[in-house]
């Protein structure tokens, strides 16, 4: 009888391992249990997904905190309602990479990045934020790392490989694959510079957050269940080899679908980072990111935490 009453919702997703919580919740029927009839809408980039949520074409999504997201929140279009991907000491997180040329020239540690070029997708992206945090921690001005907006991950890799930029930071599965090549070296972990980095968040339209509380709660419940399964199988590895295998197969239905399972599996495993338990949200990290955006004048100074986050749904810490 629940099926008859099921609410149809659209969930925006990118085909990345970091979006697995939703895939798990869908495949294992957790959404159904909550009376949600989910349809995935796949995007090639986070920004159109944010716009689609703002325009109510999509109901829920998971994405990094970007300038675009904050601006849409300021206009009263979207709200962050929970946390997703999270950097944690001890679990493989994002890595800092340098080109062979830079490595040979002595950039063997993030402290040597002063005056070096650093690949980012665009101004205001998480890469940009990370570069500045590294500079801050190492004690020099953010502007002393020369960021190069290259817009596409592929373009950054090309530039790094050919030594046209010196450094970059990226999620572990790509980092590990790249580090196999002699042209690229790993020199550090992002987690050392940004403790408890709230990398991605769950968000929805402001309309849903304010007027559809029940629906949002049910979505978060199913999402959390999916996240828990994922963490247990691939991050904490407490569920055993069978669960690990099953989980990778499940994720492979959505990610790296164009590759055979044997080739895809290592990438999926390498890309597994913690998705927050219960979608709890590290407000401190969010605040830090918001402040950074303001200091870079990428968003209006008038944006407040309340405009950005609806704290009433999940545990805040």
């Amino acid at each position: 009888e629940q099926a008859a009453a099921a609410d149809k919702i659209k969930v925006g997703a990118l085909r990345f391992t970091s979006h697995s919580a939703s895939f798990v919740a869908f495949e294992r029927g957790y959404f159904k249990e909550q009376g949600l009839d989910v349809e995935f809408v796949f995007f090639q980039a986070a920004q159109p997904m944010a716009v689609a949520i703002a325009s109510n074409d999509v109901d829920f999504g998971v994405t990094a905190i970007s300038g675009g997201l904050i601006n849409l929140a300021e206009k009263g279009a979207v709200k962050i309602i929970g946390g997703a991907l999270h950097e944690e000491k001890g679990i493989d997180g994002q890595k800092i990479l340098v080109s062979k040329a830079a490595f040979d020239a002595g950039v063997t540690h993030p402290s040597k990045l002063k005056g070096r070029s650093y690949g980012i997708t665009q101004a205001g992206s998480s890469f940009h934020y990370m570069a500045h945090k590294i500079a801050q921690k190492e004690g020099f001005a953010g502007t002393e790392i020369k960021v190069k907006p290259l817009h596409k991950v592929g373009a950054i890799i090309g530039a790094l490989k050919s030594g046209q930029i010196d450094a970059w930071s990226i999620v572990p599965h790509i980092a590990k694959a790249l580090a196999k090549s002699p042209a690229i070296h790993v020199i550090g972990d992002v987690a050392d510079y940004i403790p408890d980095y709230q990398v991605t968040t769950v968000f929805t339209s402001a309309k849903n957050a304010a007027g559809n509380r029940d629906l949002v709660k049910r979505f978060l419940a199913a999402f959390s269940k999916g996240a828990a399964d994922f963490n247990a199988a691939l991050v904490d590895k407490t569920a055993g080899a069978k669960a690990d295998e099953d989980m990778v197969r499940l994720v492979h239905k959505y990610v790296y679908t164009s590759r055979p399972f044997e080739k895809a599996a290592p990438s999926i495993r390498n890309g597994s980072m913690r998705i927050n338990q219960g979608a709890k949200l590290n407000l401190k990290s969010v605040q830090d990111q918001l402040d950074w955006f303001k200091s870079e004048k990428l968003v209006s100074q008038a944006v407040t935490m309340d405009m950005l986050v609806d704290k009433s749904y999940v545990k805040i810490y």
Binding site: V41, F42, Q44, A52, V58, G154, K161, I174, A183, T257
Partner: protein, 272 residues
């Protein structure tokens, strides 16, 4: 003596030099496959020998591998089918609208004065910049994808059409008017056939633009489609798949160009 000899010698008789011909190309069907084979062969050799770095430009054989995978899994047809549908609908609609507006611009002074600057102003707007607007206007379904391709096709067709009409011989129009041929007949029987070479040449351009825009179009919530496949390959840095996807687009472009060539030699058979 010598004078007499000279007089007796018949003047040189030589054939008149042929000065005509040329400026008309013959079809040489065999050349083009050879060129393709050579280009791809050299690339493969370069890759095998390590001259061409593996990560960024994979060997054609690797791309072929990815392509075969795509065929085996049956995904090729899903991707190609989705893209072709968008292409056909978007291009056809853009072309029909484009020819219509192009004719209107060429034929009516008021339309020209009003619309030509609008075309010049809107054509250079990057479709990618407008993606957010397209999402709002046309949703995240097929609408926005088709609209992207439609917009991309529309403008070059408008320009090619009115350029072609401007170049139609006016004496032919005067002749038809002298026979009291109606305005619409003149447009159909003189203006359009006269502009046809330019319009077909415009097709070659607009179809290529439409294929290029597949990628932009399929940025928006596309599950299947060659553009989506390429985008995904790009974001996963799977260069073999990327090249395989690009090869599909190339093959598509080639096929359609060949069809346009056929259409040209049929529709323009009256040309010298």
């Amino acid at each position: 003596m010598s004078d007499a000899t000279v007089a007796l010698t018949a003047p040189a008789e030589k054939p008149v030099r042929f000065r005509g011909g040329g400026f008309r190309t013959r079809p040489l069907g065999i050349i083009s496959p050879i060129v393709f084979v050579v280009v791809i062969g050299l690339w493969e050799l370069g890759s095998q020998s390590g001259l061409i770095g593996k990560l960024i430009l994979p060997a054609p054989s690797e791309a072929l591998q990815a392509l075969l995978e795509l065929i085996e899994t049956g995904n090729l047809w899903k991707h190609l089918g989705a893209s072709l549908q968008r292409l056909i609908v978007g291009w056809t609609a853009g072309t029909i609208l484009g020819i219509g507006v192009g004719l209107a611009i060429a034929l009516f002074s008021y339309v020209r004065a009003g619309a030509q600057p609008l075309v010049s102003a809107i054509f250079p707007i990057p479709k990618i910049a407008l993606l957010p607007l397209f999402i709002i206007w046309f949703g995240i379904g097929e609408g926005s994808k088709i609209a992207t391709i439609l917009f991309g096709t529309f403008f070059p067709t408008v320009i090619a059409t009115y350029g072609g009409v401007d170049n139609v011989d006016r004496t032919l129009i005067r002749m038809a008017q002298s026979f009291g041929v109606s305005w619409s007949s003149i447009v159909r029987k003189i203006i359009i056939p006269g502009a046809m070479p330019a319009i077909l040449s415009g097709f070659r351009i607009s179809i290529a633009i439409a294929i290029v825009l597949l990628v932009a179009a399929e940025m928006i919530g596309a599950e299947f489609g060659v553009g989506a496949y390429i985008l995904l390959a790009g974001s996963l840095v799977a260069t073999d798949q990327l090249i395989a996807g690009v090869a599909i687009l190339s093959a598509l472009g080639l096929t359609i160009a060949w069809l346009i060539g056929k259409a040209e030699s049929y529709l323009l058979r009256w040309r010298t």
